[in-house]
């Protein structure tokens, strides 16, 4: 009776001890992992700050203007270059697409037709 009881208690102690230590081990592992992720996150946040700052200095309007003037040949937009949609619609020719197709020289229409074919 006593022997059985002792045996059970010892087993219980061993088993609970084992469970406890394995749990703790697992927790420590998770903690380390969490800390690693945390470090990774703050490193990435730091990187983002740096990249944001870099991006902002790259889109400096005076820099973009210089580049646009030098490489794209652009200059200041004149008021008369701005046209409303209504004004454009007045200049659209009546039925150009139909005519082009009829003449068989509609490059964009040809591309669309090609895409339609499986």
């Amino acid at each position: 009776m006593h022997k059985l009881l002792n045996l059970m208690l010892v087993t219980a102690v061993l088993v609970s001890g084992f469970i406890l230590y394995s749990l703790e081990h697992e927790t420590r592992g998770l903690e380390r992992e969490a800390a690693r992720y945390q470090r990774g996150i703050s490193e990435e946040v730091e990187n983002m700050r740096l990249l944001n700052a870099e991006w902002s200095s790259l889109i400096r309007p005076d820099r973009i203007r210089t580049l646009a003037e030098r490489f794209l040949g652009l200059s200041t937009l004149k008021a008369q270059q701005i046209v409303t949609l209504d004004a454009i619609s007045q200049h659209v020719p009546a039925e150009p697409v139909m005519n082009l197709q009829a003449e068989g020289s509609d490059p964009i229409g040809a591309i669309i037709d090609e895409m339609k074919q499986p």
């Binding site: 740096l50 944001n52 400096r60 203007r65 200041t76 937009l77 008021a79």
Partner: protein, 570 residues
């Protein structure tokens, strides 16, 4: 687990046994009780959790980061970046030559002789290079030189450089704001700064300014070009939203780069738009006109005799362009007649004139978010002569931003709004505005401003399509207590589109000179006005102002086109 308890009960009934056995049982009972408690507590915790467990948050000791500063479109103006500073403990370095060679190979801008001198001392500490990039830090770390290490630091950077100089300001080495909005975030705006913080997530929302960096770039560029072209010593510009008081751009040249290490800026580089006061000259006539028309004593039909100088006591007031016929109100405005404007103010009366100037806030210091704010310089005693001269902006000086704010208030329907560098919407602005003149008076002023840009002194500001209106001012500067005829401050305040004004543009040039293209003139109409026109042409499309062309405009455009065609043919 309950067995020991029954054992214990049995022990009371059974005959006594050996003493040691009793002790063993007692220990057994103690253990059992301890296990029971733990088991009970575990069950309790599992079944009834004591409190809701939120997500685990790391506890960081570091102070909350300083808020980033962004412009109205979210473009970054100021941020903190991590930097490392590399230092050495010379006593630990084994081979100095090798260390110097390795370090100079990694960081080519280091001075080898100086580095050698630093590392040869008997000290325990020497900075090698402060505030390096993460790449450089890693490179040095990977060299693995014993005795060389780094510490992490934070550094405030301003990616837009000089575009944000005066408004954003800058911080000292301990990242404490000492100028501009940066100082506001630390001092008076501390409450605002605190509202941006999110301590649970250890981060801070950015502070959004009313500034539009694209507009700022256009203004800085055009004012800079004008200073160069007209050989001015300084200049400035302001673009403001008339209905909300938001400042979209404020430029003061010469400026500075807030990223530079040495921040001992000269007095010349200070923000002259708020921390300096200037006599704005004829621009102030707009205020006199607003007062006179609002009082009902002057209408557009009124006529003023400006043929002879106005004599008050021993002083005589002259006109820059004397006319030999009486002028109507509109002509007084467009010819910028001092005599006419002075007579207008005298008609309204001294008391009322003072009261009106006080009402529009020209007697008080204007305080925005920027800590740099100057008090207006006012005449000490008020007399008939003072009223006459003040009427055309002579003898009292205010911050240029204050002048702009007052004119904005006169043009937006009479709602005087304190300008701001933070975001604000129209309702908020209207709620805090004081009404200074009636809607009808404002309407008349808009008409006068527009007429002046169509045919008057500001005609060079009339960018076709954008319906600009404006008023020019050329004030003689006070040098050693006297007005100097050859040193002028020319300014322009205008707004567009004038049928429903949305944006105010101000340009100021300090001591512009006459150049060959201006036929010997150095007045505002020849320098500040064309500069403003260039600014408006650049910013109007950005701000979404749709061009509208009148029949006259179309004729003008057709003529321009013909001219260009001819040029090409030649």
């Amino acid at each position: 687990m309950t067995e020991p308890v029954t054992d214990h009960q049995m022990a009371e009934d059974a005959p006594p046994r050996l003493a040691g056995q009793n002790r063993l049982r007692l220990i057994g009972i103690c253990f059992a009780a301890a296990f029971l408690t733990i088991a009970g507590q575990l069950t309790h915790l599992t079944i009834f959790p004591a409190q809701e467990e939120g997500p685990v948050r790391p506890i960081t000791e570091a102070p909350l980061p300083r808020p980033d500063i962004v412009d109205r479109n979210g473009v970054l103006l100021a941020t903190d970046v991590a930097v490392a500073s590399i230092f050495a403990d010379p006593s630990k370095i084994i081979d100095i030559d090798e260390a110097v060679e390795a370090l100079t190979a990694t960081m080519p801008d280091l001075n080898a002789t100086e580095l050698r001198r630093k590392l040869s001392t008997a000290k325990r500490f020497a900075w090698i290079k402060r505030q390096v990039s993460p790449e450089e830090r890693d490179a040095v770390y990977n060299l693995g030189i014993p005795g060389v290490s780094y510490v992490n630091e934070r550094r405030r950077v301003y990616p837009q450089g000089r575009l944000s100089s005066h408004v954003v300001g800058y911080v000292d080495l301990d990242t404490k704001g000492i100028a501009g909005v940066e100082k506001y975030l630390d001092d008076r705006g501390a409450l605002y700064t605190a509202s941006l913080a999110e301590p649970t997530e250890h981060r801070t929302e950015p502070a959004q300014l009313s500034l539009d960096i694209r507009v700022q770039a256009a203004v800085i560029d055009e004012v800079g070009k004008a200073i160069e072209k007209f050989h001015a010593i300084a200049g400035g510009g302001i673009v403001m939203d008339i209905r909300t008081g938001e400042v979209l751009s404020m430029v003061s040249l010469p400026d500075f780069n807030p990223n530079q290490e040495n921040k001992n800026f000269s007095k010349d580089q200070q923000n002259r738009m708020t921390s300096g006061v200037y006599e704005l000259g004829s621009v102030i006539k707009a205020v006199t006109f607003a007062m006179a028309i609002d009082s009902g004593k002057v209408t557009l039909k009124s006529v003023f005799d400006t043929r002879y100088p106005l004599v008050i006591g021993s002083a005589r007031i002259h006109d820059f362009h004397p006319q030999n016929h009486p002028l109507t109100t509109e002509e007084v405005f467009c010819e910028s007649s001092n005599i006419g404007t002075a007579k207008m103010a005298l008609e309204v009366g001294l008391e009322e004139h003072q009261a009106f100037l006080r009402k529009v806030g020209l007697f008080d210091k204007l305080q925005t978010e920027l800590p740099e704010a100057a008090r207006p310089l006012l005449p000490k005693r008020w007399s008939k002569l003072v009223t006459a001269t003040t009427a055309f902006g002579h003898g009292f000086a205010v911050q240029p931003l204050q002048g702009a704010a007052v004119v904005a208030g006169l043009l937006n329907g009479g709602h005087l709004i304190t300008p701001t560098f933070l975001r604000r919407n129209e309702e908020e602005a209207l709620a805090m505005a004081t009404t200074v003149i009636g809607e009808a008076t404002s309407e008349t002023l808009r008409y006068l401003f527009r007429r002046n840009a169509e045919e008057g002194s500001a005609s060079k500001a009339d960018v076709i399509g954008y319906r600009v209106g404006g008023k020019t001012g050329t004030a003689e500067k006070v040098v050693a207590g006297r007005y100097d005829k050859n040193k002028r401050l020319s300014s322009f305040i205008g707004a567009f589109p004038m049928d429903n004004p949305k944006y105010l543009v101000m340009v100021m040039l300090d001591e512009p000179k006459a150049i060959p293209g201006t036929y010997g003139f150095a007045t505002a109409g020849w320098n500040a006005v064309p500069t403003a026109a260039n600014i408006i042409e650049r910013i109007a499309p950005m701000l979404g102002v749709e061009p509208v062309f009148s029949a006259e405009d179309l004729q003008k455009l057709a003529k321009l086109e013909e001219k260009e065609k001819k040029k090409k043919q030649n």
